[in-house]
């Protein structure tokens, strides 16, 4: 890159911009006020000719910084791709002409809007530099798979076939996990009518025959250090030997345990050996080896069996699992067939409240009905062991018979899945709360799985009920630790078919992570971003806010207690930048300065002009695309707003708001994603952290003697295309009501 900074501004006249706006005036603004060395307009900037114009200036005129005044930064990204240069975009199309009426009266305010965006673009680009890329890359290409069950084995095989070496760590002495303990599995192929072989032996054989997969049995991960592309993992085996492996990305496939049926004494578990859980029945079926299944109590063949669905699941009282494990209905159908396929005279009754058979389970269910399995809709109250038989007492929900009874030889409880997700790091950081009912539903397992050497804790953060999902809507395999993916029932309850699909998907994500880490690029949602946080350590006060708040655990502390950035763990959300009270964290193309200078570049009319100015800081993931789409649909909104895209609400530094109010803006709108329970934030915690910080803004406003309504925090989803212009217009009316900001004359 040339040492000298040369800024050029380009104004496009295509897509109606030339007719609606005075392009010469815009060029003039860029030169006079934007103070760029070169400013040009073009009839159609995104055409080959237009792009060549820019390329030519870069090559022959020494242009280093490019400001393009055309369409939204989300459009024409391929045409306007100049990786060697700092590029800013002024959104004149979606942000100005498409949201303003094409009338003579509106012409003046529309032109003012466009001129401000040119000023802002010029100011922004000057504060930027072209991202040079993360220097701290790693080149390890090996994938670590933790857990040798169906999910883990599938992931290992998929990665190996794609050409990546795999290290597979299994805690027990053999591969196969829970699936190896099954007699048969739920069918995954047409015609979905009968239980099928588990296929585990075949998977194990494939793993053993694969020279690309290194298997550690009886082994655990005792230490995981580093970042994607350069993880250093210590694996300890039972014999005491410790191996160290260089790992590029990690797949955690640690699966689940059945919910402990001992917590269900009312259903007879532990009181009679003839009450078993689903795993217990699999053991009986394996022992029978195709012959009649025998009662554990007296060894006689079972003549009648009842399956109790949702045993200890979907419990609203907070005593047992609150969720549905999703696979147990199909599993009970499969187990009923173990009996019916051997002897159709055995009475098999499945007692359910809602039968849920996802996938092709509906065909399987129908097949069971054809085989004579009886399905009764009823809620089981208790199972009482009697002489020779068990009595199932249930409330028949169809006949509304509260005292319905069923005498059977064997009862099978469908108890569901509890994830093996290691240590709940959020519970670790919180002080223990006494006497809170909800806490006890899922107990955190005290043993860490990955033993991450991250400041934020040794395991992957959990989302809900111990499951490790992070962004279930957009990025199902992602955890909040870059380069670490969880698959199978540790992520959410699922069956084998789903787990295999999951493993395949996550393996591809892990491979992407390995490749991105090598190139120093970000993983999603800013895929390919070469910028990374830089810190000016001499200004750092060691307040630790960045290390605590980073949603991805990317920041550790060095021995002098300064923040230590692990760039390849970073998702580039900028939450650290928003958190930093002394503003020493920045990105090459996004910083306190790039946004701050845009805010200051806007021309603020005096208080008698009747032209208020409203600053909108809009999240680039949801709010900004919603605004763009509002433009595409020509949903008009106020000409008084000036919109600045931000990476996340979490990256908003409160100085921007203070600066805006001091500069004489009449209002500030913050548009971010939903946070909390059903959050939509692409960075999981970003919008939540941002909002928490902004909740303190009221005090600032009071100190400035301003109305609290001068700053508004709004939740905007990508679908709010109709709604967001209405929000803007309402707020603009409210500003007119409140009157102009008293800070204008300063």
């Amino acid at each position: 890159m040339s040492a000298e900074k040369k800024v050029a501004a380009y104004i496009c006249k295509g897509c109606g911009l030339g007719e609606r706006l005075d392009a010469d005036a815009l060029v003039n603004v860029a030169q006079k006020e934007g103070k760029v060395q070169l400013a040009r307009s073009h009839d159609l900037l995104c055409s080959a000719e237009g792009v060549d114009l820019i390329k030519n200036d870069v090559a022959n005129e020494g242009v280093t910084h490019i400001m393009i005044g055309a369409c939204s930064r989300r459009a024409k990204t391929e045409a306007f791709y100049f990786p060697q240069n700092a590029v800013a975009r002024a959104n004149l199309r979606e942000g100005v002409i498409w949201i303003r009426p094409d009338t003579e009266e509106a012409r003046e305010t529309t032109q003012e809007m466009a001129e401000d965006y040119i000023r802002m673009g010029c100011a922004e680009v000057k504060a930027m530099s072209a991202p040079a890329g993360n220097p701290n890359t790693g080149s390890a290409r090996t994938l670590l798979v933790v857990g040798g069950g169906v999910s883990g084995m599938t992931a290992a095989l998929e990665a190996s076939r794609t050409g990546y070496p795999v290290v597979l760590v299994e805690k027990s002495g053999q591969l196969g996990g829970w699936a190896a303990k099954l007699w048969k599995r739920i069918p995954v192929h047409e015609p979905f009518k009968a239980p099928a072989g588990t296929g585990v032996a075949d998977l194990v054989a494939q793993i053993q025959a694969d020279p690309n997969i290194k298997v550690y049995l009886n082994a655990t991960v005792t230490k995981t250090d580093g970042a994607p592309g350069r993880f250093e993992v210590q694996i300890a085996t039972e014999s005491g030997s410790v191996a160290t492996e260089d790992i590029g990305a990690i797949i955690q496939a640690t699966g689940s345990e059945p919910y402990d049926a001992n917590k269900l004494p009312e259903l007879g578990y532990g009181k009679s050996p003839d009450v078993v859980d689903q795993a217990g029945l699999e053991a009986l079926a394996r022992a029978a080896n195709g012959g009649p299944i025998l009662k554990p109590s007296d060894g006689k063949p079972v003549r009648s069996v009842a399956f109790v669905q949702c045993a200890g699941q979907r419990d609203a009282d907070g005593q047992h699992l609150p969720y549905c494990s999703g696979y147990c209905c199909n599993a009970s159908i499969k187990q009923a067939m173990y009996f019916k396929d051997g002897n159709p005279d055995i009475d098999t009754t499945i007692l359910f409240t809602d039968l849920r058979t996802p996938g092709n389970g509906e065909d399987f269910y129908r097949s069971a009905q054809e085989k004579g399995v009886i399905f009764s809709k009823g809620k089981v109250a208790s199972v009482s062991p009697g002489a020779g038989a068990l009595t199932v007492n249930f409330h028949d929900l169809i006949l509304d018979d509260k005292d319905a009874k069923l005498e059977v030889d064997l009862v099978v409880l469908a108890t569901g899945q509890v994830p093996n997700s290691g240590v709940d790091i959020e519970a670790l950081s919180k002080p223990p709360v006494e006497g809170e009912g909800g806490e006890a539903t899922v107990e955190a397992k005290p043993i860490s799985i990955l033993n991450l050497q991250y400041r934020q804790g040794p395991d992957v953060p959990q989302l809900k009920w111990g499951f490790t999902d992070s962004h279930f809507i957009c990025f199902p395999y992602e955890t909040r630790r870059t380069g670490i993916y969880t698959v199978g029932p540790v992520r959410r309850p699922m069956d084998m078919a789903q787990a295999r699909e999951d493993a395949t998907g996550a393996t591809l994500k892990a491979i992407q992570a390995i490749e991105n880490a090598q190139l120093g690029r970000a993983a999603h949602p800013r895929s390919g971003d070469l910028s990374f946080p830089k810190v000016r350590l001499e200004g750092c006060t060691q307040c630790k806010r960045c290390t605590v708040e980073c949603p991805f655990g990317a920041i550790d502390e060095d021995e002098k207690r300064f923040p230590l950035f692990n760039e390849s763990r970073c998702r580039r959300c900028g939450t650290c930048m928003g958190a930093c009270p002394v503003r020493v964290i920045s990105f090459e193309n996004y910083s306190v300065d790039t946004v701050g200078s845009q805010i200051k570049a806007v021309d603020i009319p005096d208080e008698f002009s009747e032209k208020p100015r409203i600053l909108i800081l809009a999240c680039e993931n949801d709010a900004y695309p919603a605004l763009d789409m509002a433009g595409m649909q020509h949903n008009e909104y106020s000409a008084f707003v000036r919109i600045v895209p931000i990476r996340c609400l979490g990256s908003v530094n409160t100085i921007w708001i203070t600066d805006a109010l001091n500069a004489g803006y009449d209002g500030v709108m913050l548009m971010g994603c939903k946070h909390g329970e059903n959050y939509q934030c692409h960075f999981v915690k970003g919008s939540e952290l941002g909002r928490y910080r902004l909740s303190k803004i009221d005090d600032t406003l009071k100190n400035l003697n301003l109305e609290t309504d001068r700053v508004r925090d709004l939740e905007v989803a990508i679908t709010d295309i109709e709604h967001v212009p209405a929000m803007i217009n309402q707020y603009a009316e409210r500003i007119v009501e409140m009157g102009m900001s008293p800070f204008k004359s300063f």
């Binding site: 009905q369 004579g372 319905a404």
Partner: protein, 210 residues
């Protein structure tokens, strides 16, 4: 041994099996998935005579409630509108199963004695097979007097205006009371029906004995 006692002895407590083997279309009962669409679709649903909607009848069969199902007037209330068949996601021939159950209860002598649908069906059949043609006057008179002589007169008086109207329009001939018109070969019809009954009895006997 009565037909009923015979079946009780044969199937003991397994009523579902009995229905599967003895009732016309009974083999479909196990395929019901209890969604309740049939009950929601039934136009007689709000009639007080409809004790148990089809979904519930199926569940009662599975729960072994033999006496309750067979003595129930519910399946006699079916109007054969076929809404349930059209809508059943599992494609159960519900209307036919209802008729099958009603017929089975009738054969075992367990159907409710004076249930109006059953009463009418019997009247119609007897009326029709006598001469080979339905005598409408006798049929409606038979229905009027279902619940005794006094009630019959009352029913007749209530319908008097309709009857006079029909008379005027030449739609009702009072002389039909004296025998009415018949088909040509009455003996032939009787022989045909006799043969048909013989065949059916034989078929049912084989089923019952199997």
């Amino acid at each position: 041994m009565s037909a009923n006692a015979q079946m009780v002895a044969k199937y003991k407590n397994n009523f579902l099996k009995e229905v599967q083997e003895q009732v016309e279309m009974g083999e479909w009962v196990k395929m019901c998935m209890q969604c309740g669409v049939c009950s929601g679709s039934c136009p007689t649903n709000f009639h007080p005579g409809w004790e148990h909607p089809p979904q519930e009848i199926f569940m009662m069969i599975r729960a072994g409630k033999r006496e309750e199902v067979l003595t129930s007037p519910s399946m006699w209330m079916c109007t054969s509108c076929y809404n349930c068949i059209v809508r059943c996601p599992r494609k159960l021939p519900i209307t036919h199963i209802m008729h099958g159950l009603a017929n089975y209860a009738h054969r075992l002598g367990m159907a409710p004695k004076m249930q109006p649908t059953r009463h009418f069906a019997k009247l119609f059949w007897n009326n029709c097979v006598k001469t080979g043609r339905v005598n409408e006057l006798k049929l409606s008179m038979g229905l009027y007097f279902k619940d005794g002589f006094g009630q019959g007169i009352k029913n007749g008086m209530a319908m008097k205006d309709v009857a006079l109207g029909l008379l005027k329009a030449k739609r009702l001939n009072p002389f039909e009371m004296l025998g009415g018109h018949k088909c040509k070969d009455q003996n032939g019809i009787h022989a045909m029906l006799k043969k048909a009954r013989e065949l059916e009895e034989k078929r049912k006997a084989i089923k019952a004995a199997a």
